[in-house]
């Protein structure tokens, strides 16, 4: 007899005859597969949330900084050359693939409001800054293009600064603050953003128009950097080379000469974080896979016991005409059916477990369907691998001795 349906039927009959044992055997695989799915879902969710926060930082973002100043052979660090101007920024704004551009002028300064004072980072930026950083407002409004044109003395405060300058919980909107003794009117506050990837408090900042910062705080015609945001992550490298060639033209850098600026993007950081997440995910899945293997050994154990316990049955099957290969296939089918059904139940439990983790621990989770398919295939493979030896043992029995077995 070689038809698969017949063998499958025999195997199913044998499994149904021993329901309790079949269920217990399956349990190992159920737990293994569920563990793989839950851990990978957590790992992959964590990776996704890291990815999201990096995206929030601006994975589409390109930062142009001044290059090094070379004076008489002594090379300064980046930023030592003061060559970037707001006009450079304007020139980049209309490139294809560019979503928004802002120059930034950064100054550390003492800020005073009524009786409180606080040293913080003053960022002179364009109105597009909040858009580039995906940074929503908490209250009030961001300054506009007219404020840039008029170098208006208006400020938007980060939440840390709000807390330091207005500890009583009073509304900062409309209040006047002094930045290096220059009075600015608070017109808005930023939503809290928390710490950056390198542990910096991003909320400890005050935004003012870059023109105001240049005129009233630095007195320089150059800016510290220009932030360019590409429309999509795919366009980042194209935009980056566009930016480089435009600025080379504007700064009259001949081909082959060292640029007086530096163009960088955050994608390498994002890639690093993402690969760290992938390593974590594999590690977790590896630990979970060990439990799958333990489940497989459980199957082998039970199948060995089953072969011994059913020795007489095997002898009978042989005496009524079952070939050795048929016995082998039947036992192999039993273990594959056990492990596959266990795998499917494990997926169900894995989904439930993942939902519980998401609901109770409020962790971000993401069920990766590749892993779901892989764990089912793997559990089937476990069935074949760990079922083969007991099945081979069964098929090698001598029918005479098997029939006499007590």
């Amino acid at each position: 007899m070689s038809d698969f349906k017949g063998i499958l039927r025999l195997a199913l009959q044998a499994l149904v005859r021993n329901k309790a044992r079949s269920l217990l055997t399956m349990l190992g695989i159920v737990i293994g597969v569920a563990a793989v799915i839950v851990t990978v879902a957590i790992g992959s969710g964590a990776r996704q949330s890291v990815q999201n926060s990096i995206n929030a930082l601006g994975s589409n973002m390109i930062v142009v900084q001044p290059g090094s100043l070379n004076s008489g052979g002594a090379r300064g660090g980046f930023g030592s050359a003061s060559t970037l101007t707001p006009d450079d920024g304007m020139a980049l704004a209309h490139l294809p693939g560019v979503a928004a551009v802002t120059p930034t002028v950064t100054v550390r300064a003492q800020v005073v409001a009524n009786d409180n004072n606080w040293q913080t980072q003053i960022n002179g930026v364009a109105p597009t800054y909040t858009q580039i950083r995906s940074w929503p407002m908490a209250s009030g409004t961001m300054f506009g293009q007219s404020d840039i044109a008029s170098s208006a003395k208006v400020a938007v405060l980060g939440q840390t600064v709000v807390g330091q300058l207005f500890p009583g919980g009073q509304n900062p909107i409309g209040q006047t603050i002094l930045i290096r003794n220059v009075p600015f009117t608070v017109i808005g506050t930023l939503a809290p953003l928390g710490q950056s990837g390198i542990g910096q408090d991003q909320d400890d900042t005050v935004l003012i128009p870059y023109s105001s910062a240049m005129q009233r705080l630095t007195g320089l015609s150059t800016v510290n950097s220009i932030m360019v945001s590409a429309l999509t992550a795919d366009q980042v490298s194209a935009v980056q080379s566009e930016v480089t060639s435009i600025l080379e033209q504007r700064h009259h850098i001949p081909a082959g000469q060292t640029d007086d600026f530096q163009v960088r993007n955050l994608q390498s950081i994002a890639a690093a974080a993402s690969s760290t997440g992938a390593v974590m995910e594999f590690l977790l899945a590896g630990v979970a896979a060990v439990s799958l293997i333990v489940g497989g050994i459980g199957i082998m154990n039970i199948m060995m016991v089953s072969v011994t316990e059913r020795t007489r049955e095997i002898g009978l099957r042989m005496s009524v005409g079952a070939r050795a290969a048929t016995i082998l296939n039947q036992f192999l089918t039993e273990s594959v059916v056990l492990s596959s059904i266990g795998g499917v139940i494990g997926i169900v439990f894995g989904f439930i477990g993942t939902m519980l983790v998401a609901a109770l621990a409020k962790w971000p989770t993401q069920i990766p369907f590749g892993w779901v398919i892989a764990s089912v295939l793997f559990s089937g493979l476990v069935g074949v691998f760990f079922g083969y030896y007991p099945a081979k043992k069964a098929s090698n029995l001598n029918p005479i001795e098997a029939l006499r077995f007590e």
Binding site: L316, S319, V320
Partner: protein, 259 residues
């Protein structure tokens, strides 16, 4: 009734079986010559160690002889491999065991169908044949019962039905009444007798109980691996007496117990 000569179901010549136990050898069969014709009901008797069980195993193609020849239904089967033997068992042989050997927690019907599963017979036909054979031995009303819901006698009848489903050329019954009380034993033997007389099924019965062997038409006695007697027992309305070749090392044919 029978066409003597080409109706040989079993023909063995100088059949030997030696078990190698490493440091010693045990001769279980020391040269057996025996013919079993179609329609015979043969009892193989002998004390334990006489070789009767070994003879049944070889006749039933569960094992190969060490030497000698065995023709089953005209085919030389002395040196077949495992699979070829399994195929003949599946199509041409029926087994009845002392311990019934029904699959536990499996209905009588499914137990009876089992040999046909291995013979590759389609499901509907399996069911039809199984019910037909269960009717023949009077257990068709037990089709849905599991073995533990049946008496010993009922289980053995189900086992007999199972041995019949492939219309075997030979049924081998190994101590079929060994686990049954006297009355149930009589019932089971009556079924064998009916199958033999009405269905003309060839039966080889292995037993050490003379009362049970007395149901057969021919009694072959083994001792120390030899056939020591081969007796025909005539009954009214039974087929006419047949002369059977007797083993070389056995005493001449004896006729006893005329009834």
């Amino acid at each position: 009734m029978q066409n003597r000569g080409d109706d040989l179901v079993v023909k063995v010549r100088d059949l030997r079986k030696v078990y190698d136990l490493g440091d010693s050898q045990v001769v279980a069969l020391a040269g057996i010559d025996l013919d079993i014709h179609h329609g015979e009901f043969l009892a193989v008797m002998g004390p334990s160690g006489s070789g009767k069980s070994t003879f049944m195993q070889i006749t039933g193609l569960l094992d190969n002889p060490t030497s000698g020849s065995y023709w089953f239904e005209g085919t030389d089967v002395s040196h077949l491999d495992r699979d070829a033997r399994a195929d003949i068992r599946s199509r041409r042989l029926g087994f009845v065991f002392q311990a019934y050997n029904l699959l536990p927690r499996t209905s009588a019907l499914e137990n009876v169908e089992l040999p046909m599963v291995y013979a590759g017979i389609p499901a509907e036909e399996r069911r039809r044949i199984a019910i037909e054979k269960m009717k023949l031995v009077g257990v068709d009303q037990l089709a849905d019962h599991a073995p533990n819901q049946m008496s010993g006698g009922q289980q053995q009848r189900v086992a007999i039905a199972r041995s019949l489903v492939n219309n075997p050329g030979l049924i081998l019954a190994d101590e079929p009444t060994g686990a049954l009380d006297t009355k149930t034993s009589e019932d089971v033997m009556r079924i064998f007798t009916e199958l033999n007389e009405e269905q003309c099924i060839t039966i080889m019965l292995v037993t050490h109980e003379p009362d049970i062997a007395a149901h057969a038409k021919r009694i072959v006695t083994f001792r120390d691996g030899h056939v020591v007697s081969d007796t025909l027992r005539l009954r009214r309305f039974a087929p006419p007496l047949r002369m059977t070749r007797v083993g070389r090392f056995a005493p001449p044919l004896r006729m006893t117990k005329w009834r």
